[in-house]
């Protein structure tokens, strides 16, 4: 029998919803789905390639060698006392993690339109799975970096030395992931409506890399001081500088700059999640 009073419904579907209704509980309940997405990404990417996950090594290695010849040898952008290959590997591992998170998240609606049109699950699962898949990738690239790192530590002990800030690595990873997801989700909202922004993003990412100290140190002598101020305003810069300072004892580090970066990350990530959550509700009608 139905009681005349207020019934307790498990779900009410209505036209409007609170902006802050993020369904984080749903996300937690779907953690198994999250792990399946990560697994699918990983297995599906490398199942039929001959070298398998070795590709994760090859890509940064070849890029580093290319950078060595172009930026270091040809253009003469010096990396200080840090061996160039090590410098580039460090920069690229970090940058790749951030940019992959951002690019994949930015096209999340386009890439998953078929899936999103057929079944409901908290959409936030997909950016999270992107973050975790790329974390595995970062892990593998990081191993490559560690290999070279140990070699140079032994071969040229005077040039580089680790500092206790090495323990900040998890914080740096959270910062990179946060920036990647936050920016990616903001862009995903825009591209789901105005598709041409995807093209803008591809070269935007590239430009962003050059204004971030990935392939040059922030302390590079040839940067004029008045430009350096702008480079320092880039909230991504402290992450890379801290990473290098932690592992090489070389570069700049300040808690203030890292805090500045963290504030940016939190603002971007929160607005990203809110925007994503809003777009997710209506995007099926506009695709």
């Amino acid at each position: 029998m139905e009681s005349a009073g207020e019934r307790k419904w498990t779900e009410i579907i209505e036209p409007t919803h609170s902006l802050f209704d993020l369904k984080l509980k749903d996300v937690w309940q779907n953690r198994y789905l999250l792990s399946m997405f990560v697994r699918r990404d990983f297995v599906a990417n490398y199942k039929q390639t001959i070298l398998g996950p070795l590709w994760f090594f090859i890509q940064p290695l070849l890029t580093s060698v290319t950078f060595l010849f172009i930026f270091n040898k040809a253009a003469g952008i010096k990396t200080g006392v840090i061996p160039p290959i090590l410098f580039y590997l460090a920069g690229l591992s970090c940058w790749n993690y951030f940019s992959e998170c951002m690019n994949k998240t930015a096209t999340v609606f386009k890439d998953n339109a078929g899936l999103f049109g057929k079944v409901y699950f908290p959409r936030l699962i997909v950016p999270l799975s992107i973050m975790m898949s790329n974390l595995i990738r970062f892990g593998i690239q990081f191993l490559l970096f560690v290999g070279f790192y140990i070699y140079y530590l032994v071969a040229t002990p005077a040039a580089i030395h680790p500092t206790e800030y090495i323990f900040l690595l998890p914080v740096l990873l959270i910062l990179m992931a946060g920036f990647g997801l936050g920016l990616g989700m903001i862009i995903s909202a825009l591209t789901s409506k105005y598709r041409d922004l995807i093209f803008l993003m591809a070269f935007g990412t590239q430009l962003l890399m050059y204004v971030t100290p990935v392939i040059y140190p922030l302390s590079l002598a040839s940067i004029p001081d008045n430009y350096r101020v702008f480079l320092q305003l880039n909230p991504l810069a402290p992450i890379l500088e801290t990473f290098r300072f932690a592992f090489f004892g070389e570069g700049s580090f300040s808690w203030g700059m890292l805090g500045y970066s963290a504030v940016w990350m939190i603002v971007l990530l929160c607005s990203g999640i809110l925007i994503f959550n809003k777009v997710e509700k209506t995007f099926m009608d506009t695709v």
Binding site: E14, P15, N30, M36, V43, A44, G117, T286
Partner: protein
């Protein structure tokens, strides 16, 4: 009385056709301004109905209009209507894939929707991996999948290939595996779109049987959309009919099917009078007109015979173009599937083609039929296919002294010869 587990109130959904999102900032801003001021959407014209065959100079269409109904626990509700009547939109809203424009749906219990089989299947993953992947997407917990794993594999009949990537599966195996996962979902409310339209007949029966068991024995509530009237009759306990976004009938499943079949839902002619880009079709083909007419007299009867006429615009030049007509009765029996070559020397031309065909008198039995049309290249690649383009009814006629409706798909006028042979001896 069982308690109400789904309560739909004043549900409406407005869709914009054509260039969605307008891509113009000014219009978007305009709308946003109206919304901020609490005014209705300035681009939504009230009163326009969901009729894609008519163009009223309005890009907005009410895909659903003020729908109200309730479903009680354990009921199996069949939702019927022509293409574009709003069935899929309704399921999408219930499945939380899109938001309603107005109104609400209140639900009680765990919901799973099955709008497609094999959602999230990845060709590189093995059958086993895909069972877990698909199960997770459909909202199953890991232990639930593990619990049913053997039963799923058994139901699909793919034991031998369970560790093979599904890209090596035949399409039949693929569909069976995909459906098997879904068949073992254990939600309180299950939403099923026409997923049964795939797979072979035997497997379809098995799936229908499984669904029936689930609702009878486990008290599960099911929303079921289908064009298969036989399935609706046997599976559902209630039915509702949608027409152009409005709920026009609700009652028992048998009454709903009867209403649908006898209502003016039947429409023997299709005519597109909008621009070429909005005609049903794709970048290859646009269907402009399709008519079913009696050969003799004014009404389609068993003895009138019929002629069907198709006009379409072809965009694909220099190919071997063919058109296949498929006539299906309301029990989903294919009466015929028959095609014709439009061009055989790779010389199709861009432009409007007319094709017509005739069915003789005393061929079709009385009943309702629909045409599917498939446009192909080299009889191999489908360029475009359209279902249910027209729905028409062949009226009964007295044959001798018998005025009853006779069973059978066809109703031939067979020239019998009878002779009596005297007993030997």
């Amino acid at each position: 009385m069982e308690e109400v587990v789904i309560k739909v109130e004043n549900l409406s959904k407005l869709y914009q056709l054509g260039q969605i999102g307008s891509r113009t900032l000014s219009r978007d801003l305009n709308r946003w301004w109206a919304k901020v001021n609490g005014k209705p959407d300035p681009y939504a014209r009230i009163g326009s109905v969901n009729d894609r065959t008519k163009k009223d100079g309005n890009d907005f269409v009410w895909s659903l209009r003020d729908i109200n109904f309730e479903v009680r626990k354990g009921e199996v509700l069949g939702i019927i209507g022509r293409n574009g009547a709003g069935k899929s939109t309704l399921l999408k809203i219930v499945s939380k894939l899109t938001k309603p424009t107005t109104g609400s749906i209140k639900l009680q219990g765990r919901i799973a929707s099955l709008l497609e089989v094999g959602t999230g299947f990845h060709p590189e993953l093995t059958g086993k991996e895909n069972i877990f992947m698909n199960g997770a997407i459909l909202g199953m917990k890991k232990w639930e999948i593990q619990k049913h794993f053997d039963a799923i594999v058994d139901f699909a009949g793919v034991e031998k290939y369970i560790d093979t990537p599904v890209k090596r599966y035949s399409s039949g195996m693929y569909v069976r595996l995909a459906f098997a996962v879904a068949a073992f979902l254990e939600p309180d409310i299950l939403i099923v779109d026409e997923v049964l339209a795939v797979g072979d007949a035997e497997f379809q029966k098995k799936c229908l049987g499984r669904m029936k068991d689930v609702s009878n024995n486990e008290g599960r509530t099911i929303l079921f959309v289908s064009h298969n009237m036989a399935a609706v009759k046997s599976l559902c306990t209630k039915g509702l009919v949608l027409k152009q976004g409005n709920l026009v009938y609700q009652g028992s499943q048998l009454d709903a099917v009867n209403y649908y079949q006898s209502s003016h839902e039947a429409n023997s002619s299709f005519m597109h009078d909008g621009s070429m880009e909005t005609a049903p079709g794709n970048e290859n083909i646009r269907v402009l007109e399709f008519d079913v007419l009696p050969l003799t007299g004014d009404v389609l009867t068993i003895s009138s015979g019929l002629e069907f006429k198709l006009a379409f615009y072809n965009h694909k030049e220099n190919i071997n173009l063919d058109v296949t007509f498929e006539l299906v009765n309301l029990d989903e029996v294919v009466v015929f599937h028959h095609g014709v070559f439009i061009s055989t020397d790779k010389n199709s031309e861009r432009g409007i083609y007319n094709v017509s065909g005739k069915l003789p008198a005393n061929f079709l039995n009385t009943g309702s039929y629909r045409f599917n049309i498939i446009f192909g290249e080299n009889q191999r690649y489908a360029l475009f296919s359209i279902q249910d383009l027209v729905l028409f009814e062949v009226l009964n006629e007295t044959l001798g002294s018998n005025s009853q409706t006779l069973p059978g798909v066809t109703r031939p006028d067979i020239p019998y010869q009878v002779s009596y042979k005297t007993k030997a001896g």
